[in-house]
Symmetry: C2
Subunit: 151 residues, 2 copies
Amino acid sequence: MVDILHKVGIKAPLTEVYKALATREGVAGWWTHNTEGHSEVGRTLTLRFTAGGAEIGHMDMKVLALQPNERVLWQTVDGPAEWIGTQISFELKQDGEFVIVLFKHQGWAEPVEFMHHCSTKWAIFLMSLKSLLETGKGAPSPNDTKIDNWN
Amino acid sequence: MVDILHKVGIKAPLTEVYKALATREGVAGWWTHNTEGHSEVGRTLTLRFTAGGAEIGHMDMKVLALQPNERVLWQTVDGPAEWIGTQISFELKQDGEFVIVLFKHQGWAEPVEFMHHCSTKWAIFLMSLKSLLETGKGAPSPNDTKIDNWN
């Protein structure tokens, strides 16, 4: 088992950072514009990604935990084969003027090339989250920064 | 043992991507301006990082392998305690118009918070490498994008 780990520090109120992770509208502001479904424990968020107008991927995330101002936990129930069953968590804590987000995408079976891609891409999306909260403007898909031949 | 993995795809000649990883001048263009030493197998590169004029960290990387247009491998011989003994590799391959860089920072003892930080920061520096090669302008330290309370 191998994990993707990341950390960002965000100069914004803890409640706002939590809201950007724990609500459908929040997630649509930094990950993908096309976020549907319900951010409630036991229900599912559906994320769709497009490039040039065509869908290039989608994921269904079951919401496993929503602990206000502390933690959001999802499990992938549909999407790329390598993602199915993996868990994605965001842990929050205040440190001085920063809200620290510790991110984990856990449960990858193998460190395949796609995992390398997703690791870099998660960093890009977490910087989009930081930007959304600090400047009011994120860069969710399809306006996300492209990193390689896989987008 | 846990690893940091990343991938970027760069639209530039393979020889130029290799040079940016395998020469002191190249590394100074995307990682830190303050890169000294010798990029030769068995010798050492010294990387210094500053913020507001003060040194905030340094690393000594022993060059273990330089395989032209294929692979660069370093081992950390001085720097943060968690880095000592870890290995950093860049594997290159051509895929259509992209040069793919598969990055690994291997040998971390524990997935500590500092590892989360370094994972995100490596993504930032690899995007700086991509920018250097595609636009002629990287963002090496001290002009690197800040991600959190640790810089």
